[in-house]
């Protein structure tokens, strides 16, 4: 019955191939351990896909100096992350908005206490096609008229007197996105208040492609996607009442670019913090966030904010200081005031 034998041999080869990949890694990483070589175990990070690049960078650097610890990062979205976090299934969740009262309720019900740490700033960028030579800035009121539910604006000439007669095509993230939530709160002034007849995608690269190929396009997404695609799209200045301001790391950091700047958070399960590897990772985050955050295209908080974060961790101050504040554009000063 040699046919059975060849089936078994084929299976055996595959299993053997996998087998030799596994243990070698462990042996290699144990040998070159340095600072945190006695630390072991796992840290599970989940949450917003906006925060993912930051968590990924922090995890990567942390594992370079602490090879014994396995940090994994998943991206279930802000809401999906809080669901798992509230059940105590993960150690840390990234969020592109503060925790909501209903999510806080779930945490309380399951006995999950948490520590809230602002980790970076993101600026939502409103972009147009480079061939668009008429619009340089938009006011918040104009954006609101374009995006509010039921809006019938489909031509640039309706946006502002003097703009040419060109069809206006809208691009934006889908309703599951934290970016969508934040844009609605900041521009149209309500949870999920947005017109729905626009090209929506959860994948920001699709939005970039859309705006890059459409002369009359207008879209919005996180600043990191604009920074990487400056050759294909152009950002508009936003007039929040004090004149048009260009989106840039500096204007986001100084709070001039409003109301489309938003803070990003890490939420840490207080019980997980008792595990030495989680504590070490959180400390590492607060020590290195300032450098790593700007590397991945976001805007770091001032050093004082990270220092304040360390104090909060040391004192194990649990609970949210930002809950229910999604509606207004949080500025860095607001954050600092709350950290004290």
């Amino acid at each position: 019955m040699s046919i059975w034998r060849s089936v078994v041999v084929a299976g055996g080869i595959v299993v053997a191939a996998i087998g030799c990949g596994g243990p070698k890694e462990g042996a290699g990483s144990a040998a070159d351990g340095s600072a945190g070589q006695e630390l072991k175990g796992a840290v599970n990070v989940d949450g917003s896909s906006t925060v993912f690049p930051i968590s990924q960078a922090l995890a990567e650097e942390f594992m370079n100096v602490t090879p014994g610890v396995n940090v994994t990062v998943a991206e279930s979205g802000t809401g999906g992350g809080f669901k798992k976090f509230g059940r105590g299934e993960i150690d840390i969740t990234g969020a592109s908005r503060p925790i909501e009262p209903s999510e806080d309720e779930v945490c309380k019900k399951n006995g999950v206490e948490y520590i809230e740490l602002p980790i970076a700033f993101d600026g939502l960028t409103v972009v147009v096609n480079p061939k668009n030579n008429w619009a340089d800035s938009l006011t918040v009121a104009e954006l609101k008229r374009i995006w509010e539910p039921g809006s019938k604006i489909d031509n640039w000439s309706q946006v502002r007197a003097g703009f040419p007669d060109k069809p206006l095509k809208l691009y934006g993230p889908g309703t599951d996105s934290g970016t969508f939530d934040y844009f609605c709160e900041a521009i149209t002034g309500g949870k999920g208040k947005s017109r729905s007849d626009y090209t929506a995608s959860e994948d920001d690269n699709v939005l970039v492609q859309g705006v890059a190929g459409d002369e009359g396009a207008l879209g919005y997404f996180g600043i990191a996607y604009y920074e990487e695609n400056k050759d294909k799209i152009r950002a508009l200045k936003i007039d929040g009442g004090d004149g048009p301001v260009e989106p840039s790391p500096e204007t986001v950091r100084s709070g001039l670019y409003k109301p489309l700047s938003r803070p990003l958070f890490l939420y840490v399960n207080a019980k997980s913090l008792e595990k030495p590897q989680v504590k070490a990772f959180v400390d590492f985050c607060l020590d290195h966030a300032e450098k790593l955050v700007s590397q991945v295209g976001y805007v770091p908080l001032p050093a004082e904010a990270y220092g304040a974060g360390k104090k909060i961790v040391a004192e194990k101050r649990t609970g949210s200081r930002f809950m229910g504040e999604t509606a207004k554009g949080l500025k860095i000063e607001d954050i600092l005031a709350k950290e004290k």
Partner: protein
């Protein structure tokens, strides 16, 4: 019927014949053309990223350093475990339904209807099931084994149906001859029926394992993670798989990640093709022996 009328109809029939042939040819081309375009763009973007280093490094936030090792091993772990769980179960179920329960009772009818229905259930539903049963209720956590069990459930209906068809295709004279010579039912199945049905069964096995390899949605629900810098060490390890890694890279802003994603797609294609090649080889051997 005069000869002219016959001639005219003959030309008309000839034209129709030609039209139909060409229509079928064009239909074939549509599929192949799209595949070629896809392969071309993937190879153009991903070729220069393909290297031993790419296969042997872990994901990184630097696109040029990012590699696919954890996803490749995660995929292999999941597929091998899925196969180990689903293949024996699926074939055994098919044998039971075809060989031992040949008289249709209301019970086998019920099972049959359910299996056919399950084959059409969207994969995300299996993800929800896996999350509720394996991850939470059996508290296996977000591990390789949870993923493999869920994938096994996902491919079982297909596996059973295909194996049943293969067993059905074995002529009854084989069974009757074997039984008439005094073989037991087990001997008949093991020595005569299964080897004859093996080519068909193997095709089903490979098709369903390929599906498990490419499936993403249920594993995202189960909690396969996007960023892992280690290969699974045991059944309880966290893991990622190739499609999730590729999806994650395509949604990153940096252009380098798009290239990494293209290279990842090539790796996935190669794994799929080698699985298929193995199947063709085994099928070839099996049909020679039968």
């Amino acid at each position: 019927m005069s000869i002219e009328r016959y001639r005219k109809r003959l030309t008309a029939r000839g034209v129709k014949d030609l039209l139909f042939t060409n229509l079928c040819f064009v239909a074939t081309l549509v599929g192949i053309f799209l595949l070629v375009v896809l392969l071309y763009s993937v190879f153009r973007d991903g070729r220069q990223r393909l290297s031993w280093e790419f296969l042997n490094s872990f994901p990184s936030r630097f696109p040029e350093k990012a590699g696919i090792k954890s996803a490749l091993f995660g995929s292999l772990w999941v597929v091998v475990l899925t196969g180990a769980i689903a293949v024996p179960t699926g074939i055994a179920a098919a044998i039971y339904l075809e060989e031992f329960q040949r008289r249709r009772t209301w019970l086998t009818e019920l099972i049959q209807v359910n299996i056919s229905n399950l084959a059409g259930v969207p994969s995300i539903v299996y993800g929800l099931l896996g999350l509720a049963v394996f991850v939470r209720w059996m508290s296996l956590d977000r591990s390789v084994i949870s993923g493999a069990l869920t994938m096994a459930l996902l491919i079982l209906p297909m596996l059973i149906t295909v194996s049943q068809e293969a067993l059905k295709a074995v002529p009854d004279s084989y069974r009757e001859g074997s039984l008439a010579l005094g073989a037991t039912q087990w001997q008949t199945i093991y020595r005569q029926v299964l080897p004859a049905a093996l080519p068909g069964i193997l095709t089903g096995v490979i098709l369903s394992l390929s599906r498990a390899l490419g499936e993403t949605a249920p594993l995202i629900l189960i909690g396969a993670v996007s960023f892992v810098r280690f290969v699974p060490e045991n059944l309880g390890s966290s893991f990622t798989v190739l499609p999730i890694q590729i999806f994650n890279w395509t949604s990153q802003p940096q252009k380098g990640f798009q290239e990494a994603a293209a290279a990842g797609i090539i790796v996935l294609l190669v794994v799929l093709l080698s699985l298929n090649a193995a199947a063709i080889y085994l099928r070839h051997r099996a049909s020679r022996h039968a």
